[in-house]
Amino acid sequence: MGTPYPTVPLYRYQYTKLTEQQILAALTSKAKAGPDSASPRYDGLAGQSLRIVTDGGPDLSYRFANANQLAVSEGAAGAVEAGYGALMLDQVLFISHLIPGTQRGYVVVIDQATNLATVFDLWFSGYQDKREVMRAVFFGYVDKPGSEVPTARQAFTNRAEGKGFHWTQDTGAETLEFYPSCAYSHFVELTRLDGEIGYCAPSDYVKISEHSYIYTRTESEFSGIFTAYVMDVDRQEQVGVRLGFNAADELEFYVFRGTGQWLGQIAQFEAFGDTSGAPVPRPDDSKGSRRVYRPIHTFDILTKEETAVAAKKHKLFEARPSGMAGNGSPPTNWLAGKSMTIRYDGGMTMDYQFVSADVLRWRPGSGGRWIETRYNAFSSMPGVILFGHVLEGAPDHDGHMVVVDFENGLATCHNGYLNNPYIANEANARTHFGYIEMDGVKTDKSKRHSFTDELLGHCVTWNYSPGITSMHLYSTPQTVSWIIFTPTGHGGMEWSGGAAFVKIREQLYFNYWLEEACNGHMASFLFDMRAMHDVGIGYHCGRDGLSMGPVGAHARHAGSFDIKRFARKA
């Protein structure tokens, strides 16, 4: 049994495939005792009864014995006794409990001002990975005998979209949480993990009022832990529950209070007046069904040997680029006929002879054997060119995406490579800084381009071609998260991976993202924040070969989150 929170990125951790028996055994004692709570529980329910009626979902009748024991009847079934935890946030009551003897439980949120309620029906063993908590969301009301049944309901919303908070729970756990989508969210664990990488999770957003929302996330593809909370965005407070098995396979079931720090609000892209939520179409009508992005399930993973065979076939800057290049720039022939040497820190030297607009010769270190290969180059700001090529014969099938800055005589290389310990045909990257030796180019050998946090917290949309649009969220100095949109402009599915950000000049940045535990791509892109356009190069190895191709998109600012102080902390 390992530590509760992995020391490797969550998508690298091999979570135990818990059995139903293991899950049920772990739930048994917690179901009777109820969730832990670091804060005093709400005791105002002691001695009271409550009936929650939902549309097409559970009909729950409660009798509360005290502040942590209740009896609940589901529909006409007999009452069962269970432990529970309740917390209040202003007028909103948050209750959570399990059903003893089962792998099920509930979260009930009641707005006491309106008597409207939302019920989250929770269960384990509903997916092939049985530890992943499943949920179905039902809207209803508190039944008040003699009163009219309210016609209003709480509902899914996009009104929380674009917000971000730094939350500190009463457990001490600190997170950065971003809601850039109506179907997903992004979170950075500052205390449970090292805060270096942000992760994405399918999420629900329910509106209680203009100030108060219910949020959930399920850490699908990772631990499967479910978190739900009510947040008051003006009070900057939350009350919620965490339920599931951590990396040490320990059951976490506790209610919590938290205080928030506002990180900001980014843009939304729905039509004015559209406040709808849950924009991603459900796959079917089965209970709790929703679309969860599970890219590793469709990624064609190759062994190191298979990768070596595949990488012998090169697909370099082919005539028909992918949809990621629809708004890109045409290649430039500016380098044709020129020669240069790039000396990188750490000793790597690359000699280049650019034979034509798309053929170059390179050799590692002066005096080695020249190797001819296909390349493409793209212009950015004046005097700055990005070019890329693969390194035939390199044991890890490297590719170099190089920014050459002739004004300053500097060069920076994003060195893509394969054969990481996890997935052989997944792209990894390192960054090399160096300088150019070339006739007519003045070089100050003491200067370098450098990593930057100037983009940290920024959100930028990228339109690559019709229908191929995403938004980047730069949530840590090592993370790019990308969110795609629905046809209605709602934020939809989201994923994230490793990244690096290098400043070339004012308003010009050379970045990469890695599609880790996803599709294995690397995209290295030079982002001109004045032109709001990028030129880039993608690097990938699949069964059909090692490929390099152009990337290019029109960009728009979508706002930013104030998170630089947390990066320093991390």
Binding site: V280, P281, P283, R291, Y293, P295, T298, S322, G323, M324, Y464, P466, G467, I468, T469, S470, W482, I484, T486, P487, G492, M493, W495, E515, C518, N519, H521, G538
Partner: protein, 169 residues
């Protein structure tokens, strides 16, 4: 009154012809008029039948019932529409397309200015496209002004649509 409302245009015109008959002055003129009226009636009948076919076919297309739409034609090849067509609606800003019926009443053609909504599946050649498909929204939608060209032919069973195609407006 109810019967009046249900009276077909043809029967109304027949009645009109009968009512108009006493106004006739000379026999040859009356015979000519009757022949003309019969031709008119036949043309109106053709127009009505063809309009019904066209409307039924468009209803199938706009409801996504392409199997039914194609079944109204002599062959699949006669329905020369892209698979990505979502809807075809008359362009109200354009002049209505006239129906031309051949003198022998065996063929007819109509060209209608339309707004055509189309969707094209995103090619699964990059991660964002794969995500869009996983999200259930992996198509690009667009709307274009086009010209719907319908051809009709009369067979043993009466009028049928013989071909449908779209062309740039």
């Amino acid at each position: 009154m109810t019967q009046d409302l249900n009276t077909s245009r043809r029967s109304f015109l027949k009645g009109g012809a009968v009512i108009a008959a006493p106004l006739a002055v000379a026999m040859p003129s009356a015979v000519l008029a009757r022949d003309t009226r019969e031709q008119d009636l036949a043309a109106l009948e053709d127009e009505r039948t063809i309009a019904g076919l066209r409307d039924t076919w468009l209803r199938h297309v706009n409801n996504g019932a392409f199997v039914e739409a194609r079944a109204m034609m002599p062959s699949t090849a006669a329905c020369r529409l892209d698979d990505g067509i979502c809807s075809i609606s008359a362009d109200q800003s354009a002049a209505p397309g006239a129906l031309t019926i051949a003198e022998d009443r065996q063929t007819a053609a109509q060209q209608i200015h339309c707004q055509v909504a189309m969707e094209t599946a995103l090619e699964k050649d990059c991660t964002l496209a794969l995500m869009a498909h996983a999200q259930g929204t992996g198509v690009v939608r667009r709307q274009e002004k086009q010209s719907l060209q319908l051809s009709f032919a009369r067979g043993e069973a009466g009028w049928a649509i013989s071909e449908a195609s779209l062309a740039p407006a």
